[in-house]
C-alpha cells in the first residue's frame, strides 16, 4: 500500500477493494482498452491489490503503439528526403521506425518538431509559406476532432502547404476483433472515458448484445478504475451484460455532437492496420475525398517497403489479453523501452512499457 497511501483517496481505494473482495466468487478476466488506464493501473500498483482471481489484461488502446512501423518510416522519409516540417506529439516522435525514430532524424538535421496540438501545426504552415508542413495525426476518437479541425483551419485560411499523415484508430472495432476471435479470453471490458466523451455510449450496445459481455465506461484515476472494475464484476457475477457508465461526471450518453459533426465532415471510416494485431476492418479514419489535398499520403505518394517486425515479439497475444507482458521471453531481456522489439514497448502507455517502468511495484509477483 506504500504508493496508495500517498494518494489522497487511499480511503476510497480501500473501500472499493473491500467491496471487490466481497463480490468476487470466481475467476474473471477483464480488459481495459485504453493505454492511459493501463498506465494508471500499473503505475499505482492496483493490479497487485486486486484479488488473485481477478485477472487484468491490457488492450491495444495506445495509438502511438499500434501505429504501423511502415508509417513511421514514411514520416522519417518525408522529413529527410522531402524536406518537410514534420510535427507530431512527443511520444510519437520517439518511436523507432525500422531504421530510426523521427527524433533521431531531427538530430541528424531534419526539421522535426514536437507540438502540443495539431492547431499549432497549422500556424506553423502559415508562418512558413515556402515549406510543406506535415502533421503525423495519430489517435483514437478523442483526438480525431482536433486533427479534423486542423484541416478545417488550414482550409479556411486557404493554406496549401499543410497536410496530415493519418493513423487514426477506433475502439469498438478493436473490441470486436478481440472478442470475435476464437482465442478470446476476455469476459468484460473497461471502455475509455475520454473516447466516450466524444462518441457517447451508443456504439457499445450492439457489442454487448452480440457477444453477451459487459462494458463499463471508466475514467483513468485509481478510484475510477477500481469503481469501474467493481461495477463490471457485479455484472459478471450476476450473469448480466450491460453498458454502464462509471464516468458520468464527464461522459454523457450522447457524447459531444459538435465534435462528431466535425469528424463526420472530414473523415470517413476505413480499414486499418494495427501494429502487433494486423488489419482490422473498418477500424480507423482517413480523410474524405473533399479533403484529399490535405492528405500527406496522396500529396507525397511515398512508397516505402514494408519493414519486418521482430519474430520474437508476441505483441499480438499481449494486445489480445492472451499473455501478460512478463510472460514474453524477451521482456526486459532483449526488449526494453530503449530498444523496443514491438508495439506495446514503444510508448509509456503501452502494456509492456508500463510493466517495465513500474515492475518494482510488485505487479510482477
Amino acid at each position: 500500500m506504500k504508493y496508495l497511501s500517498e494518494y489522497r483517496d487511499a480511503g476510497t481505494v480501500g473501500q472499493y477493494l473491500d467491496e471487490i473482495n466481497k463480490v468476487v466468487t470466481r475467476p474473471w478476466t477483464i480488459m481495459e482498452i485504453c493505454g492511459g488506464q493501463t498506465h494508471s493501473l500499473v503505475k499505482n500498483g492496483l493490479i497487485g491489490l486486486l484479488p488473485g482471481n481477478v485477472r487484468m489484461v491490457h488492450g491495444p488502446g495506445c495509438p502511438v503503439c499500434v501505429t504501423p512501423l511502415n508509417l513511421i518510416d514514411k514520416a522519417v522519409y518525408l522529413a529527410e528526403e522531402k524536406k518537410v516540417i514534420l510535427c507530431s506529439y512527443g511520444d510519437m516522435l520517439r518511436v523507432p521506425g525500422s531504421k530510426k525514430s523521427l527524433l533521431e532524424a531531427k538530430a541528424a538535421g531534419a526539421d522535426v518538431r514536437i507540438l502540443y496540438s495539431p492547431l499549432e501545426a497549422v500556424l506553423l504552415a502559415k508562418e512558413n509559406p515556402g515549406k510543406e508542413v506535415v502533421f503525423f495525426a495519430v489517435g483514437f476518437e478523442t483526438t480525431a476532432p482536433a486533427n479534423a479541425l486542423s484541416v478545417l483551419h488550414a482550409q479556411r485560411q486557404g493554406l496549401k502547404n499543410y497536410s496530415i499523415l493519418t493513423s487514426h484508430v477506433l475502439v469498438p472495432p478493436a473490441i470486436e476483433a478481440i472478442v470475435g476471435d476464437d482465442s478470446n479470453v476476455v469476459q468484460g471490458f473497461l471502455a475509455a472515458g475520454h473516447v466516450c466523451t466524444i462518441m457517447g455510449l451508443g456504439e457499445y450496445y450492439p457489442i454487448v448484445e452480440k457477444y453477451h459481455l459487459p462494458i463499463v465506461v471508466t475514467g483513468f484515476e485509481p478510484v475510477d478504475l477500481l469503481h469501474g472494475i467493481l461495477m463490471l464484476l457485479k455484472q459478471l457475477e450476476r450473469g448480466e451484460y450491460k453498458v454502464e457508465n462509471q464516468y458520468t461526471r464527464v461522459v454523457n450518453e450522447w457524447g459531444n455532437p459538435e465534435a462528431r459533426a466535425v469528424i463526420d465532415k472530414v473523415f470517413r471510416v476505413t480499414h486499418r492496420e494495427w501494429r502487433g494485431i494486423g488489419e482490422i476492418p473498418f477500424s480507423g479514419y482517413e480523410l474524405k475525398n473533399a479533403f484529399a489535398g490535405y492528405d500527406a499520403n496522396l500529396k507525397f505518394n511515398v512508397q516505402i517497403e514494408k519493414a519486418e517486425e521482430s519474430k520474437e515479439c508476441i505483441a499480438g497475444q499481449v494486445l489480445r489479453g492472451l499473455k501478460k507482458p512478463f510472460e514474453c521471453p524477451q521482456f526486459v531481456k532483449k526488449c526494453k523501452p530503449s530498444n523496443p522489439l514491438g508495439a506495446p514497448m514503444v510508448s509509456s502507455e503501452g502494456a509492456c512499457a508500463a510493466y517495465y517502468h513500474f515492475s518494482n511495484m510488485g505487479v510482477m509477483a
Binding site: Y7, S40, S117, E120, T142, A146, N256, V262
Partner: protein
C-alpha cells in the same frame, strides 16, 4: 498524449471572420490556447477538459481541481509545460 487536462477559460477571441472561438485557458497558471468549437456554450470562467488544443467537455470546478492534482502527481503537467513552445497569437 491521450489525456485531457482540465483548465479554466480566461478569455475568448473570435477568429477566422468570427467563425471560430479560441480561448485562453489557464492550467494551474500555464496559459495555452484552446479551440472552443466543440463547446459552443462554454464561457469565460468555465472549466473545460482540453485535449491536444481542443476543449472537449465542460467539467465542474471540483472535478477540475481533483483531476489536475492527479495529473500533476503522475507528471502529466510537466509534459504540458515541456511541450509549450508557443504562446504566440494566431492572427485574428
Amino acid at each position: 498524449m491521450c489525456l485531457a487536462i482540465p483548465g479554466k477559460i480566461q478569455s475568448i477571441e473570435l477568429m477566422y471572420d468570427g467563425l471560430v472561438r479560441m480561448a485562453k485557458v489557464s492550467f494551474g497558471g500555464i496559459i495555452k490556447q484552446a479551440s472552443l468549437e466543440m463547446l459552443p456554450a462554454a464561457n469565460v470562467g468555465d472549466y473545460v477538459l482540453v485535449h491536444v488544443g481542443v476543449a472537449i467537455s465542460k467539467v465542474d470546478e471540483a472535478e477540475a481541481a481533483k483531476t489536475f492534482e492527479y495529473l500533476k502527481e503522475i507528471g502529466e503537467i510537466d509534459e504540458l509545460i515541456e511541450h509549450t513552445q508557443v504562446d504566440r497569437q494566431p492572427e485574428l
